[in-house]
């Protein structure tokens, strides 16, 4: 990639002022997305992954919301642009698809109408007829059989997978440069999931469209992402290329995520281990390392010192992690964990203290 990235998020912070206190939903995250690149944002619910990407488009704006940082898209800061210009980008150069395709489509309008509306919102002077043709073309592109016959159908007349295809078609009508896919496969069953992912990947390649894929499912990310960022409590705690992240993850939270999903390359009898403990409150966040309340390898200093996001080692600038454990210890811990050891055994093997975390 030459020149500057397509999207560059710098120190984005999103806070919601609620009756119970200020929710630090996103706490200073930075990342870049190049043209045609697929970035996976991974994390459990409440880690800020959806909020951060919706904030890019001004969809979280409200009287009680504070958004800070910079979101540079093609040389312009989306956070300071006037509303009308952000609107022109929304659904135009950047479009979004969401988790639940049924509730995300308006139940009272035909899908054709909803697609046409998107075309005409961004392309001045397009006739209804031309917009309709465009809609049909897009429905065909995303694999809806008989798009001409289906364009006047209502969302409830489609199956879940087809609805998500409709959503994707809707997102594509204006040839976006960036597609933000917020848990696009979560509400779908597994076989359909694979189809939708394949579709997103195909469109990414064919249309050279960058994708931010938000998911809690590392398996999804492994399939199509060029870069993966793991989020925890509103921050990125580890970021790397997928190969590095799956081969040698360095953040204890990433280990937790990896050990909680079934894999083909691990012994069958190896148990799946959920990440112990509960996600922290985003109102009263833990001191020091935000993960320390759930980290078996916590040390006294970790409760006080907030680790920066740093390269895991010299010469590995494209793999960054937010962890106070020494690099070598992290590698050893993961080696044991990967071969099926539990946290206590792994700690012994790596010669480090282990604290039991109550679920």
């Amino acid at each position: 990639m030459t020149g500057e990235p397509l999207l560059s998020v710098e120190d984005l912070a999103v806070r919601f002022d609620t009756e119970d206190g200020v929710v630090h939903a996103v706490d200073g995250i930075s990342y870049t997305v190049d043209r045609g690149q697929v970035l996976g944002l991974v994390g459990e619910s409440g880690s800020g992954k959806s909020v951060s990407s919706m904030s890019l488009m001004g969809l979280t704006a409200g009287r009680r919301t504070t958004i800070e940082g910079r979101v540079m898209f093609e040389g312009r800061d989306l956070l300071t642009l006037p509303g009308s210009e952000v609107r022109a980008i929304r659904g135009g150069a950047i479009s979004m698809i969401f988790q639940d395709p049924l509730s995300s489509l308006h139940p009272f309008y035909t899908i054709g109408r909803q697609l046409i509306e998107g075309v005409r919102a961004h392309q001045d002077g397009v006739s209804k007829k031309a917009a309709r043709e465009r809609a049909i073309e897009m429905l065909g592109l995303v694999g809806i059989p008989d798009p001409r016959g289906r364009v006047d159908a209502y969302p409830h007349e489609f199956s879940g997978g087809m609805r998500q295809r409709v959503m994707i078609a809707m997102a594509l009508v204006n040839e976006p440069k960036l597609l933000i896919a917020d848990e696009p496969t979560t509400a779908l069953d597994v076989t359909v999931q694979a189809q939708i992912l394949a579709l997103i990947k195909r469109l990414n390649e064919e249309l050279d469209m960058a994708v931010i894929l938000i998911t809690h499912d590392l398996g999804v990310v492994a399939e199509i992402a060029d870069e993966v960022a793991v989020m925890y409590a509103g921050r990125i705690v580890e970021q790397a290329k997928p190969e590095a992240l799956f081969e040698a993850p360095e953040h204890p939270y990433t280990w937790g995520l990896l050990r909680s999903i079934p894999r083909l390359d691990t012994p069958r009898d190896q148990e799946l281990v959920p990440v112990a403990g509960r996600p922290p409150s985003l109102i009263n966040r833990p001191s020091g390392c935000h993960f320390h309340t759930r980290c078996p390898y916590v040390r006294e200093a970790h409760r006080r010192i907030d680790p920066p996001l740093e390269p895991v080692a010299l010469g590995q600038e494209d793999h960054v992690v937010r962890c106070l454990l020494p690099h070598e210890t992290r590698l050893e811990l993961w080696r044991s964990l990967e071969s099926g050891a539990d946290a206590a055994a792994a700690g012994r093997a790596a010669g480090t203290e282990v604290t039991e975390i109550k679920a």
Binding site: M57, L59, R87, A88, I89, R90, G91, G92, S95, M96, F98, D100, S103, S104, L105, H106, P107, F108, Y109, T110, E117, G118, A121, H122, Y154, H156, M167, M170
Partner: protein, 308 residues
Amino acid sequence: MGVLLLIISAITFLIFYALPSTDPAQLRAGRSGSPELIASIRHNLGLDKPIYVQYYRYVKGIVLHFDFGFSYQTDAPVRQQIVDRLPATISLTVGAVILWLTLAFPVGIVSAVKRRSLVDRAAMGGALLAISAPVYWLGLVALYLFSNDIGQFKIFDGAGTYVPISQNVGTWFSSLLLPWMVLAASFAAFYARLLRSSLTEVLHEDYIRTARAKGLSERTVILRHGVRAAILPLVTVLGLDIGILLGGAILTESVFNIPGIGRLAYDAIKASDYATIQGTVLFGAFFIIVANLIVDIAYAVVDPRVRY
């Protein structure tokens, strides 16, 4: 529908004929009526027959001839009475509906969009007042202030009277303005609140987020996507309310002296004019049933998911 009307007619018949109250024959004979006179009136009205015969005759008249009998009070055919009164009731209803919808929509939408703002609080506070104010009280206040004879500000021509539309469209309009406003006040308030809560809920829906993500203007998002979905609960109540009002807005018509079906029913009740009461009740029931039917049809039009 026929069955339902039959049941309703039977119930009203039972209530008015079988339950003890003033003998209509005696009422007609007057204070000095002799027993012979009363007996002959009873015979003329068919009141000396057993109740099931009376009922059978009544239903037969309606089914075969659309004949609702004759008013005990004026001897006029009940059907004719109701038909004569219908224009006034329709005028009142249609005007009030238009008025309250044009009030309720902007208020409800603004309140939902600017929820918890000063505008919202003021609007909803006002709505609460309007809902709580009884129609007869509001009507009397309105008359006191604006009616043509006793009013303090005589700005509505013909206020406090009723002028048929066939007579003078301008005066018809101005004479009905007050009753429209009084009748519409509580409805407008109720509808505004209903729309506010419905729209508030809808605006949290995922498809509203989608509409915003498409880059539509906020105006389009709220009006075309939000309100479109939020009117569903309003359709139901609107249909029924129109049905009820066509059956006669007794309070409003009485206060403003509008010769509508409500007023007819009120006068008939005062005079124990059973045939007329029966007729107005059946008419009211008929309108409500029809309104229900129309609501069901409207539902299918508004919401494509509904199929019959």
